[in-house]
């Protein structure tokens, strides 16, 4: 096995086979589960399973069409409790039932309902969404009594507004909030992934200084093999984490869609061309970050300093989030184009623009080109910084030294260890 792969395997095992990685791997799905769980609990609190009453002064519901009971799983039923509808002859009786808590609310149809369509809702506390939704459907079905069943069904379903780009790559379906949320969540996921793995890379480089293993390693392998192995290991770790997240999220969505009956979970669609574009942008972005972080690890004095500076770099990555309004309202403005083409913000900008608009092909080509050149430059810089900074303990390599190549080998700050 070549030394590059020996370093890669060693580093990969070191990063992946520890509690920190398992926690990081589970953190995103757990966070999502927590958010979904909180939403579900909130939804559950809006449910009220008590009956809803109605008083029909117009007399048009003497022989009502019964509500259609949907075929739902028991878990889905929990989040959309069926309510029964109770007819009352008089308002007094309905009101007594409301006061005693037998029903959660009652509707009163005006005597001239067929002309005025006036209905009054009476409650002590607002009824659950399940109750109002089911009563609205009951009303629709009775108003459409006598129509063919498919007409009734179509009318009850209502309209769905679909906004689609001319090339068909992007579409926004009314009510499918996940179509907007997925790209945003994707960019947040990329950000978390980049931050966590690139910090790991910085520490992997700094660690050799902290452990004083740099000289042993550089007299065993070439700097290229060492830094290349470390980058490959961190990329492998990042891919492992990303694939784990995707697999866990896919499982969660399948569970939500098939078991809980949440239709939105099965309606997330991103065109393959868009995924391809994101991959084209994501790969050089990742390489750029890894290169920058490796260079950073070679220039700083210790792990603590690397975290502080690494945090600043990651802040730049998140800049498009601060400009999200501009990206949404004016996706073709100079600011949006700049953020799309600037290598450190390209990926996030593309993800956010995916949520709300499209991008022209030239911007994609230009961004990928700029990113590729930047990534190669950052890796070159990392190799140079590593070579110059590898034997400097407790002292940082300045950017001036990095570009001039006049670094001193040992630190005057570490006289106890520094020979000359």
């Amino acid at each position: 096995m070549s030394k590059l792969w020996l370093v890669t395997l060693h580093e990969y095992r070191k990063h992946v086979l520890n509690k920190g990685f398992v926690l990081a791997m589970l953190s995103v799905p757990l966070l999502m589960a927590f958010i979904i769980g909180m939403g579900a609990v909130t939804d559950l609190m809006k449910q009220d399973g008590r009956p809803v009453g109605y008083v029909d002064h117009a007399g048009w519901l003497s022989d009502p069409v019964a509500p259609v009971a949907p075929s739902r799983s028991s878990l889905r039923t929990l989040f959309d409790k069926p309510v029964s509808l109770v007819a009352y002859d008089a308002v007094d009786a309905a009101h007594s039932a409301l006061e005693s808590g037998e029903i959660q609310a009652y509707y009163v149809f005006a005597a001239d309902y067929m002309q005025s369509r006036q209905v009054e809702l009476v409650y002590t506390r607002p009824p659950g969404e399940n109750a109002t939704d089911q009563f609205s459907e009951f009303l629709q079905r009775n108003l459409l009594a006598g129509q063919p069943p498919h007409i009734v069904q179509r009318a009850v379903q209502g309209g769905t507004l679909v906004v689609r780009t001319p090339d068909g790559d992007r579409e926004l379906v009314e009510g499918q909030i996940m179509s907007v949320l997925v790209p945003i969540l994707l960019s947040i996921t990329f950000m978390i992934l980049f931050m966590s793995t690139s910090f790991t890379l910085v520490q992997a480089v700094v660690e050799e200084k902290d452990n004083r293993t740099m000289e042993i390693l550089t007299t065993s392998v070439s700097p290229g093999q060492l830094i290349g192995g470390k980058v490959l290991a961190v990329v492998g770790m990042g891919l492992t984490m990303f694939m784990s997240w995707m697999a866990l999220v896919a499982l969660a969505l399948l569970f939500a869609g098939n078991v809980l009956g949440f239709e939105w979970a099965l309606q997330i669609r991103i065109a393959p061309r868009v995924i391809g574009a994101l991959v084209l942008v994501a790969i050089p972005s990742y390489a750029l970050y890894c290169g920058l972080m490796a260079a950073l690890g070679s220039t700083v004095a210790d792990a603590q300093e690397s975290q502080q500076i690494g945090g600043l770099v990651s802040l730049v990555f998140g800049l498009p989030f601060y400009a999200i309004i501009a990206l949404v309202e004016q996706p073709h403005s100079p600011l949006a184009i700049f953020l799309t083409l600037f290598p450190l913000t390209s990926l996030t900008s593309f993800c956010l623009r995916l949520a709300f608009s499209t991008w022209p092909l030239w911007q994609l080509v230009a961004a990928v080109g700029i990113l590729t050149v930047s990534a190669l430059g950052s890796i070159w810089l990392a190799a140079r910084a590593f070579r110059l900074g590898m034997l400097r303990y407790g002292k940082r390599l300045t950017w001036r030294e990095l570009f001039q190549g006049t670094a001193t080998p040992q630190s005057s700050a570490a006289p106890a260890t520094g020979g000359r």
Partner: protein, 298 residues
């Protein structure tokens, strides 16, 4: 072909001249001592030898030519900056570093276990390196240096942090390696170890050669005009002795320029003195070191 040939190397970092002009040759199978005060340029010289730094001028030949990636597997190096991976087990750490020196993993593991047993570390092999004492880590470093049977071993301060028992063990190991034909370059401040172990030395100061050659020859060169004498009973007065000073269990006589040790011995014999010890007073390497550096400063 010498294992190491260094010819007039110089290396500066900015305005700091770390090495001005250093040349030496390390013979095959010898223990070579690289000596010098702090800041003399020893570490930079070693790093130039190992191609960690490119020299500004001069030439270096290691194992028959310029340093290459392939040659790294034939060299064992224990740097001044000691270090091992702290958060993994001792055995895993040493096996990994052994594989980077070209050993197959199974072979590396087998050798690591053998050396751990030899160095009384077998029961600690599954402990994390950071859980080991400084002395244990030092022994682990030595194992890492020789694990792959290198042709050339370069060690910076091999006895740091070792207790007397382990110091003796390392000395025995160094002698054993020499017996096996391994060439060794040792940089140290512990002059008595140099005297005991090294065949030849190079003393450098301010980046330049100061003394270079066989240890015994250098000591002879630096011997003053003096003899060490011990006799049964009191020593008589002998012509030509200018100064008398105690020296361990003997007396050191500094002789006049025109007085030879043979003349002094004859004078003692003539006076029927029972001589128990009579030898030319050779300076220790430490004394030579101090004198040479002081002369250089003057």
């Amino acid at each position: 072909m010498h294992p190491v040939e260094v010819s007039h190397i110089a290396k500066s970092f900015g305005s700091t001249q770390a090495v001005a002009d250093v040349s030496f040759v390390v013979e095959r199978g010898e223990i070579f001592g690289l000596l010098g005060p702090n800041g003399a340029g020893k570490t930079t010289t070693i790093r130039v030898m190992l191609d960690l730094f490119k020299p500004d001028r001069g030439e270096v030949s290691v194992l028959g030519g310029p340093m290459t990636e392939e040659k790294k597997e034939r060299i064992g190096y224990m740097p001044e900056e000691r270090g091992l991976y702290q958060d993994i087990s001792l055995e895993r750490c040493l096996v990994y570093l052994g594989t980077l020196k070209g050993l197959p993993a199974a072979e590396a593991r087998q050798r690591v276990r053998r050396y751990l047993a030899q160095f009384d570390l077998a029961q600690h092999r599954n402990k994390k390196v950071k859980e080991l004492s400084k002395g244990m880590q030092q022994k682990a470093q030595i194992i890492n240096t020789i694990l792959h049977d290198p042709e050339l071993v370069i060690i910076d301060e091999p006895f740091t942090a070792l207790d007397p028992v382990n110091t003796q063990m390392v000395k025995d190991l160094i002698r054993e390696l020499r017996t096996q034909g391994t060439t060794m370059l040792m940089s140290t401040h512990q002059m008595h170890q140099v005297e005991e172990l090294c065949d030849r030395i190079l003393l450098i100061d301010e980046g330049r050669n100061v003394l270079y050659g066989e240890v015994d020859e250098i000591r002879r060169q630096y011997s003053g005009h003096a003899v060490l004498v011990r006799a049964a009973g009191e020593l008589p007065l002998v012509p030509g002795v200018e100064q008398v000073s105690p020296h361990n269990n003997a007396v050191k006589w500094t002789l006049a320029q025109d007085t030879t040790p043979q003349a002094v011995l004859q004078a003692l014999m003539a006076q029927n003195v029972t001589v128990e010890r009579f030898e030319i007073a050779l300076p220790t390497v430490e004394e030579i070191f101090i004198r040479a550096v002081e002369e250089g400063d003057a």
